[in-house]
């Protein structure tokens, strides 16, 4: 399935972008699409995953605008779906 994975400047700056970005990636599930993201851009691995292959607990993942729990990364995706990943931790 071809999905859009969107991420903020925090991610984009690591791969040469200066602003929020979207990439078209392949995957059958949300987790697989995020794997495809970090396989293409290894610089993002430490942001997305913990060494034990779990989702970084600081990250928030949305599928078509709905926030997913970490155990929902196995949710199947469809062509044209939009996944968003960003840090849930911000100062203030």
């Amino acid at each position: 399935m071809s999905v859009t994975v969107a991420f903020p400047a925090l991610f984009a700056e690591r791969i040469g972008g200066g602003d929020a970005m979207e990439l078209e990636l392949e995957g059958e599930t949300v987790g697989a699409a995020l794997r495809a993201l970090t396989e293409r851009h290894g610089e993002l691995t430490s942001l997305v995953w913990r060494p034990e292959s779990e989702l970084n607990p600081v990250m928030a993942v949305f599928l078509n605008g709905r926030q997913l729990r970490s155990e929902e990364l196995t949710t199947p995706v469809h062509d044209g779906d939009k996944i968003q990943i960003l840090s849930a931790l911000e100062g203030g």
């Binding site: 991420f7 903020p8 400047a9 700056e13 602003d19 430490s46 942001l47 600081v58 949305f62 100062g91």
Partner: protein, 608 residues
Amino acid sequence: MRNLNAGNGSSFDPSKVRYTRATIDLAAESIAVEEVPCANLEDVLGGFGRSFQMLMGREVSDALAPDNPLIINTGLLTGTNVMTGLRTYFSAFSPLKHSDSGLPAAIWSAASGKFGSKMKWTGLDEIVVEGQASRPLMIVIQTGDDGPRVTLKPADALLGLETHDKIMALQTDYADAHFAVIGPAGEAYQSCYFAAVALSTENELKSGDDKCRFAGRGGMGTVMGSKNLIALVAQSPDKRAQLAPEVKEINKKISTGPGSVKFREADKGGLGGTWSNFPILEKFHALPQDNFRPKADGSVERLFRENLEGDFVIKAESCYRCGISCHKNIYEKQDDGSRGAFRAKFDYEPLNLLATNLGVHESEQAWQLVQLVDNLGMDSISCGSTVGYVLDYNGRHPDAPLLNGATFGDFEKIRELIEGAGRGTMPEVGQGVKRLSVKTGETGYAMHVKGLELPAYLPETNPGYPWAIAGGHMTMGTFMALVMEGDTSMDYWVKAITQKGLYQVRDDLLGTCKFAGMGQKMAIGAVQVEGGIDIPLEDLLAAVRRAYLRGLAIERKQGYGLGEYTLPSDAFDAPNPKVTTPSFITRDFFAELQQKVWEVFEPEIAAL
């Protein structure tokens, strides 16, 4: 501000940009308004980029003396159509942050609200306040026929009022105006060094609720008080240019894009505000509790947002024309479930440092402490961290406690300490944790770096704190890095400080809010389109870097030795086993980090 550059593709010349400055000598009660050519890009961008150049040239040994200038200015995008372009900056030598030699450090503090926009709409970009008034005064800035009109007025009638009450009193005299005031803490400047400046908001003026915004860090309200300057008034009709399509697109990205998701409500695709840091940090037992010593006992969960939804109406509200709505305002819930009286605004920092970090976990007590600090006009971070130290000390010395003997969770006595700090009756608290801990001789658990109290992130998770120049988290973007990535390598931390973290201060020149989450391309787009400044991104970033380095240079000039760029010693010597992030900041690690960071910064500082 006038830009005389041709804008036809020729290179940008900062000296062709002029800003309007009012220099006010309070002792002589004289005012001079002049147009000033910019010396460099930092002057054009504004904020601390400009003010720190003036402070760099001053010799100030006492922050409360008349020769400490108080600079009030805006950023290039303040008062423009760029969403969150609302910032006002207060810069001076700080009564709170000081080197071991005793000299004060330069600092700036920023706030939103609408005062900065109104000030800019009068035609004024900067005010430099010199001297000390012999009577309580306020500065009134108005739109004149041929430029800003600046006058001084008596402010005796405002004395003694709390922050919100001062603002509401001024509103009755000045229509279509906004205000910057000190509270009782600023009036007690000789005893309270972390007094804030409160800025009015549209919501506050319309609702009558005490919803000020605060320039809190470093005691800029204390400096105002020392000058007998009680308030500023900026009165002007709103002046908004036509909204350019490019800016409309930028604003749409700010209000609906990924950069501000954290601060928006769930029904706007958001995560609910800074308050939502509570459960995330608690996953790592990295949420400050009992003076930055998490206990991992679950007690902090009582102040998670989800656990308060039933007791209060929580309403997301916003600054002027901002679509993010980051203010999570707590209202009493009536019997029928409807919204009752306003109670407080729950942000991560005040709620943590004035509640969980003091052992207070009851929401009814938490909002009272948060609002008390606001009404007295103090910095929540410095006040909370200093009170936390007192409670910690008293727990360690039950037979010879400090002050009223308060310990963690003792709400009434904690309230007394805060009142005492804000009303000037407890200078031991009001003069900050560095001075207090030096007096007690127990400095290891005094949570400050370079004399400025730490925000609500554990020192053992952030070796970048010492290179923050005006507040631990808002001026060095490394405070969440360990929790976010778990990387403990030397190379990572050197780069995090010298290549990424310092750019946290970009918005402190531009006049925008960090919560906008603008990436660099968005920021340069806003500067070009709405600021009218045709420069490439690399020039903007170079100016930000120079401004940051100037902050370090002033610190060194004010006597900071390299050994003062360190963490509270308990971060090295008494690691908390409850915290589950990697424990890696040994003294050896830190010594190497210091060396490598200065290897980068020192040649650049020398070349400024």
